[in-house]
């Protein structure tokens, strides 16, 4: 009798799972492995940060990003996508920077592109489900935060230490992205 109940429950869960269009388990897995690769690549990219202590800057990342547990999974997806596209925009500008390992930057851009690709699909699906969180103030605050980073780089003439400071900041971002991935629970 217990086996029959378990079977019925399993069938019900499977059907429910099939009805949900975003496979959050699969999304979490793909995002986590790509994010982990990003961390490794950034770590390889950051060289001699101790020489750039005077260039340090508090960019003031929005507090909400540091506390991802408050987000619904749809909001977490929007916040993540905003962060990924902004990080992608920043590193796109780094190609001409002399002395950088372009292979690492290229791999980093690939990983970011992968994550954005996954999220774009999922975001379109939740739009169709009518669950898209259009009024998301955190996304706007993040734009201001990343604008600050871009303005800092420009003010420092894209110097080596300015880039190092930004790389360290983005390394922190990637840790916060891990937390946001955790918010993508079914």
């Amino acid at each position: 009798m217990t086996n029959r109940c378990t079977l019925q429950l399993t069938v019900l869960l499977c059907l429910t799972g099939a009805a949900l269009s975003v496979n959050y388990g699969k999304l979490r897995f793909k995002l986590r492995s790509s994010n982990s690769a990003c961390q490794t690549l950034l770590w390889q990219l950051i060289t001699s940060p101790q020489h750039c202590l005077d260039d340090r800057m508090d960019f003031q990342i929005p507090r909400q990003v540091e506390q991802p547990q408050q987000f619904q999974k749809e909001e977490a997806m929007v916040v993540m996508y905003e962060m990924l596209q902004q990080i992608h925009t920043i590193f796109r500008r780094s190609f001409s920077n002399a002395g950088w390992n372009e292979t690492i930057v290229e791999k980093l851009l690939e990983e970011l592109d992968d994550q954005m690709d996954c999220l774009e699909t999922a975001l379109e699906e939740i739009k169709q489900e009518g669950k898209f969180p259009w009024e998301n103030r955190t996304a706007l605050r993040l734009k201001t935060y990343y604008l600050g980073i871009l303005q800092y780089l420009k003010a420092k003439f894209y110097g080596r230490c300015a880039w190092t400071v930004v790389q360290v900041e983005i390394f922190r971002n990637v840790s916060f992205l891990n937390g946001l991935i955790g918010a993508l629970q079914d």
Binding site: C14, K26, H88, T89, D113, T144
Partner: protein
């Protein structure tokens, strides 16, 4: 900073507040005046009406309705305030003493993601209307997306559309955005059946295929943001003529297939005597602005392929990429094929499965399927094809198709060896190789008393429940509907453990009488087959167990078993009482 609007020194804030209060009081007192303010020189000026902010890309415009008053020296001025950044009302550049009905304040350098507040008034000499304040807004949320710039390149049966993002090169509004695009294309051909298509692209370059040669096609493009619902404007119409049909058509149906653990590119082509050239592009480059054309790279091993297939180096398949192929004969080449994207991580061979069998009973086995190492595929909807057979010659093989990794096979023979192997399937992947063959033996059939015990237990449970119900009914009847003098022994229905006695006395007594009779029969029963004998033995034992106390009182017979004697001793008193109860 929407919470705090304190501006400048406290003194100036207090003065302004007082002024606003005075203005409102006068407006209430003099009903005839709309938004009345302190008149100066006797003329009553109204603030501009129907004021709206229009933002498209980086152009910020303030508009209002033209004044109905006779044309004179009436001008309009506006101020702005950015809470937390510019906390005093400040003159809005480009909107001071304006004589027309619009003003452009695009020169104001601001953070387009921060809230801004505007106010506007009419002026005529020293006479000013009251300020009319607009609702706070965030420019980025208010802005419309302007038309993107479009460049078309035509082939014989395809058009490549290169899109530049909206706004100027130094655009502030969209500088941090990666817009997506919608393209409407239609055929401009008189007399022909109307045709149009809408294409959506995440990237600024899109190629539309399967068009007709020597035909005029027109497009309109608009941008959109994935995360924000800003309305957008279409570009102007751009038209282009497709060329004469090319001698060599473009290859079609590019595929990546796995042959003997090697990835192979193959495609379809209808013409002979051609060589093929394949190029590939890493997917992430599609997002990069600027010209993509120089980023396509020759596929090694596919520079001048004589047949419609080639084997690229394995490291090409590490990540997502696009592939395009064209054919050549002599000096002429076909156009490039459609660009196909591949992600071979989705096409990697499913690792080998491991199958295990576990006996559950004499008639069932549990089948478990899994991967030896953790794989991302565990998150994908895999289907398992399990082949199951009895380990005997010429045994029939059955195939189960399951989406569960653990399932039970029923209706098997006891003490029989069964074997299984499995394959995994996923939509766009090749099947996995067959797993190991696992075998297991079902348990010995008819385990002493096992199914029998279950059946008899169930029967006993049902009987006990019925007896309890009957006893309860009788009790209720005795308590609530006493028939004259209650029996003298009624108190004995409520001993220290009433429920136990209820179960073991009245109705059970009747049943036990039946069991007693059965017991007598069972003692003299002849040998029957093993199962039946066990059943009888068990029943007899049960009857002895449950009924022994009854037996001692009525007949003085001692129980036939130790268990019976024990129970008999315990239940002797009860037995006597229950016998009486049934009288």
């Amino acid at each position: 900073m929407e919470e705090g609007c304190l501006a400048g020194s406290e003194g100036s804030w207090v003065l302004e507040d007082w002024w606003l209060e005075q203005r409102d009081e006068i407006a209430v007192a003099s009903k005839g005046r709309e938004g009345g303010g302190p008149p100066a020189g006797g003329t009553k000026l109204k603030p501009p009406q129907n004021v709206e902010v229009d933002i498209i890309d980086d152009t910020f415009t303030l508009r209002w309705a033209r004044s109905k008053e006779p044309a004179g020296n009436v001008t309009v001025s506006a101020d702005y305030l950015i809470p937390g950044i510019v906390d005093n009302w400040t003159k809005l550049p480009g909107c001071q003493h304006v004589t027309s009905a619009t003003c452009d304040f695009s020169s104001l350098k601001m953070n387009v993601y921060e809230e801004i507040k505007l106010r506007i008034r009419a002026e005529e000499g020293n006479n000013t209307s009251p300020w009319h304040e607009l609702d706070t807004f965030i420019p980025f949320q208010q802005a419309r997306i302007g038309p993107p710039k479009v460049h078309l390149e035509a082939e014989d049966k395809a058009i490549a559309i290169n899109i530049s993002p909206p706004g100027a090169e130094d655009s502030v509004m969209w500088q941090q955005e990666n817009p997506q695009y919608s393209v409407i294309i239609w055929r401009n051909m008189s007399g022909a059946q109307p045709w149009n298509e809408t294409h959506h692209s995440r990237f600024p370059r899109i190629k539309i295929h399967k068009l007709m040669p020597e035909t005029t096609y027109c497009v309109r493009v608009k941008a959109r943001l994935l995360l924000h619902p800003n309305p957008a404007e279409f570009s102007p119409v751009h038209c282009v003529n497709t060329t004469v049909e090319n001698e060599l058509p473009a290859p079609e149906n590019i595929q990546v297939i796995l042959e003997n653990d090697t990835y192979v590119l193959k495609w379809d082509y209808t013409h002979d005597n051609v060589t093929f050239e394949a190029q590939w592009l890493k997917s992430y480059l599609k997002r990069m602005p600027g010209s993509e054309s120089e980023k396509w790279v020759q596929v090694q091993g596919c520079e001048r392929a004589p047949v419609a297939r080639c084997a690229p180096p394995p490291d090409m398949f590490r990540k997502r990429f696009y592939v395009r192929v064209r054919a050549s004969r002599g000096n002429s080449s076909s156009p490039w094929s459609r660009e196909e994207e591949f992600d071979t991580r989705r096409r990697v061979v499913i690792p080998p499965l491991v199958v295990a069998l576990k006996p559950l009973s004499s008639h069932s086995l549990q089948v478990s399927v899994g991967f030896q190492d953790q794989t991302e595929l565990q998150h994908y909807p895999l289907t398992y094809e399990v082949t199951f057979w009895e380990n005997a010659s010429n045994a029939e093989r059955k195939t189960f198709v399951e989406q569960r990794a653990d399932f039970t096979v029923l209706s098997l023979k006891p003490r029989t060896v069964y074997c299984a192997d499995a394959q995994a399937l996923l939509e766009d992947r090749p099947r996995s190789q067959r797993s190991n063959v696992a075998c297991a033996t079902t348990e010995a059939g008819g385990a002493p008393g096992a199914p029998l015990a279950a059946g008899v237990s169930a029967a006993l449970t049902v009987l006990l429940v019925l007896c309890a119900a009957l006893a309860l009914g009788k009790l209720v009847h005795y308590v609530f509907f006493p028939a004259g003098k209650p029996p003298a022994t009624i108190d004995e229905y409520f001993p220290e453990e009433p429920m136990k006695n209820l179960l073991l006395s009245t109705s059970v007594e009747r049943t036990e009488e039946c069991f007693i009779i059965e017991n007598v029969d069972a003692v003299s029963a002849k040998e029957v087959n093993r199962l039946d004998e066990d059943h009888k033995t068990y029943t007899s034992q049960a009857s002895q167990d449950s009924g022994n106390y009854s037996i001692e009182d009525e007949s003085g017979e001692s129980g036939g078993s130790q268990a019976g004697e024990e129970l008999g001793q315990r239940g002797a008193g009860a037995g006597a009482r229950s016998a009486v109860g049934f009288a």
